[in-house]
């Protein structure tokens, strides 16, 4: 089982929770432009996988990628500034919520095309293998993306090329307004993955320690040249598909049931039970996270819009 301090996983989740909660408010208040998809309720997957990866590893993610970016160490201030579309943004305000990218942290970008993260992640795995870097490439995607041809082609490619790719499916039940279980006769992504002959395991996506343990094992296999590996993390998004979604499609008590298994509570409870942390310490971590986010927001608000020339920069390199 995990040797990684659970308290650290909790701390990462606390930052993501604080960030997403605040982002949702700011979006509602009209301070953040564009579309925003929060990962509230899915923090354990980002924290667990993020902790299991090593420096130099790659991450390709989706429209719901804030948590993954934060868990991989993308600067909180730069990310916040990006969502505000300001000068100090990690993408100079040209990417936004759906396109946070920071190669210096191995983050190849959130992506607004469902399924696109898989072939890109496979490409990063190919680089790692051919350049003999033993880097793991983690490709995040939702269960809805499993119905894209890109999933099918990318997983098969990674399989025949034995690439160090960690496919991470966050099965949060819904794709936009649709219950994904109605969109296939085989709702288990792990079962569907048998078609590619690769290792695949399901995990409680609200248990950060379990996610970490599995992801670490899977990443180790990838590094040994025994990849690819697929993780299906069963979880739930607390908010709508996008901020503002009325969520009429969610059955009455479903959300409540999942909130009882809130990933932060799950880990917090364990920490206290095992005496690894006191409730006070956890409250302090939570408060600290909120402060960091508040500070980032205050800072972002003071930043100017990007220089007009930015609109014309970076189309081509030379």
């Amino acid at each position: 089982m995990s040797t990684f301090p659970a308290a650290a996983l909790f701390a990462t989740m606390a930052v993501i929770r604080a960030f997403e909660t605040r982002v949702a408010e700011l979006y509602k208040a009209g301070e953040i432009p564009g579309f925003v998809h929060t990962s509230l309720g899915q923090e354990a997957v980002a924290a667990g996988v993020g902790a299991a990866l090593a420096p130099g590893d790659y991450v390709a993610t989706t429209h719901r990628g804030h948590g993954h970016c934060l868990a991989r160490g993308v600067d909180l201030d730069a990310m916040t500034a990006e969502l505000f579309a300001r000068e100090g943004g990690v993408c100079h305000g040209k990417g936004g919520s759906m396109h946070i990218a920071d190669p210096s942290k191995g983050v190849l970008g959130a992506n607004a095309i469902v399924g696109a993260s898989l072939p890109l992640g496979v490409g990063a795995g190919l680089s790692s293998k051919l350049l003999r870097q033993a880097r793991v490439s983690a490709a995040f995607f939702g269960e809805g993306a499993v119905n894209q041809g890109a999933f099918h082609e990318a997983v098969n490619l990674a399989a025949i090329w034995d690439l160090p790719v960690l496919f991470v499916c966050e099965n949060n039940v819904y794709a936009e307004f649709s219950d994904s279980r109605r969109m296939t006769r085989v709702p288990s992504v792990v079962e569907r993955t048998a078609a590619y002959g690769i290792d695949a395991e399901e995990v409680d996506g609200n248990d950060a320690e379990a996610v970490y343990a599995l992801a670490r094992r899977a990443a180790a296999l990838c590094r040994e040249g025994r990849g690819p590996f697929l993780i299906e993390a069963a979880t739930y998004r607390h908010h709508g598909h996008y901020e503002g979604d009325p969520q009429a499609y969610k059955p009455d008590d479903e959300a409540a049931a999942w909130r009882d298994r809130d990933p932060l509570s799950v880990t917090a409870q364990r920490l206290v039970e095992r005496g690894e942390a006191s409730q006070e310490e956890l409250d302090a971590i939570t408060a600290q996270a909120a402060e960091r986010v508040d500070a980032a927001v205050e800072r972002a608000r003071t930043l100017p819009a990007p220089d007009r020339d930015e609109a014309f920069a970076d189309v081509f390199g030379d």
Binding site: A85, G93, G95, G115, S178
Partner: protein, 327 residues
């Protein structure tokens, strides 16, 4: 336009919904296919209420499998149905182009007319919402370059309904381009619809002809209001068929032409219109044909940066005035 007392006129989005409802109503073979077009009522609520009204055999929710369901819509059109398939953001043609490019556009021809493919590909376009570079493209020029596809871009509330109905009734594949930013625009529904393939003179004028379509029509009409010279604004309505008669007739009268579109200017649809007019009216034009489109850069997330890339009312007005001064 409408005062608080009277009932508000319908929105573009309502007109689209009414058009689809009428199509589903009048022809059993019409079906609606797409991601969340049913229970969800559409990601932008365009298809709200249609599932409840017509049932799951007429309004089909799909997995995120555009290549599969767009291709299936084409196969269904070949075998007796008349599908309206929604691709959502036009940028998503990146994952489902083959059924449009290599199947729908070509199967009638390759089968010497034996296969008929009455399908409508609904997709929405347009920048100006900070949707980012992958959710903001206007690619209508691509489809106009592919023989066998009609390309329709409603710019008014009544055309949202009328052109949609005309597209569904058309025996050919139609790429139907909605502009997101028009969804909430209100306007009147007309009595007798202008046929698909005819351009419309949206504003009569004498000095400069302005040809446009989609979202840019509003900017061009606003420019006509604030402009010192008299603009004749033409809403092209469709790129295929292309109503050059209306354009030529007007440009011949004014002797000046400005083409305005939201798509990237380079290799955009405006070039075709400019090239044709510059050729046909070589001896009659007073000034060169000018184009206004987006510069060759992806659309940035930041709203200010993004808006500087789109032709503005001012830019249109000054371009027109400049033309008038030029000769």
């Amino acid at each position: 336009m409408s005062s608080a007392t009277e009932v508000k006129p319908p929105r573009y989005i309502d007109a689209l919904g009414e058009g689809m409802a009428t199509a589903l109503e009048e022809d059993e073979r019409v079906v609606l296919i797409g991601i969340d077009v049913g229970a969800g009522g559409g990601i932008f609520r365009v298809t709200k209420g249609l599932l409840e009204r017509f049932g799951p055999d007429r309004v089909l929710d799909t997995p995120i499998s555009e290549m599969g369901f767009v291709g299936a819509a084409v196969g269904a059109a070949m075998t007796g149905l008349r599908p309206i398939v929604e691709i959502m953001f036009m940028d998503f043609v990146g994952v489902c182009l083959d059924p449009i490019l290599n199947q729908a556009a070509k199967l009638r021809y390759m089968s010497a007319g034996a296969l008929e493919i009455p399908v409508v590909f609904r997709m929405q376009t347009g920048a100006g919402r900070s949707a980012g570079a992958q959710h903001s493209q206007s690619l209508e020029a691509w489809f106009a370059h592919v023989p066998g596809l009609k390309v329709v871009m409603p710019a008014t509330v009544t055309d949202a309904r009328d052109l949609l109905l005309a597209s569904v009734r058309d025996p050919n594949p139609v790429v139907f381009v909605e502009n997101r930013r028009l969804y909430s625009m209100r306007g009147e529904l007309g009595e007798d619809p202008l046929p698909l393939g005819k351009a419309r003179v949206a504003r009569a004028g004498d000095d400069v002809t302005v040809v446009t379509w989609g979202q840019m029509l509003r900017a061009c009409l606003a420019a006509a209001d604030e402009c010192e010279v008299s603009l004749e604004v033409i809403d092209l309505r469709s790129l295929v068929p292309l109503d050059m008669e209306t354009v030529i007739e007007s440009a011949r009268r004014t002797g000046r032409l400005l083409v305005v579109h939201e798509a990237v200017q380079d290799f955009g649809a405006g070039a075709e219109i400019a090239a044709r007019v510059a050729d046909e009216l070589f001896d009659e034009l007073r000034t060169p044909v000018r184009r206004l489109g987006a510069p060759p850069v992806p659309f940035p997330f930041n709203p200010e940066l993004e808006s500087t890339l789109l032709p503005s009312t001012n830019a249109i007005a000054s371009a027109a005035q400049a033309l008038e001064k030029e000769g």
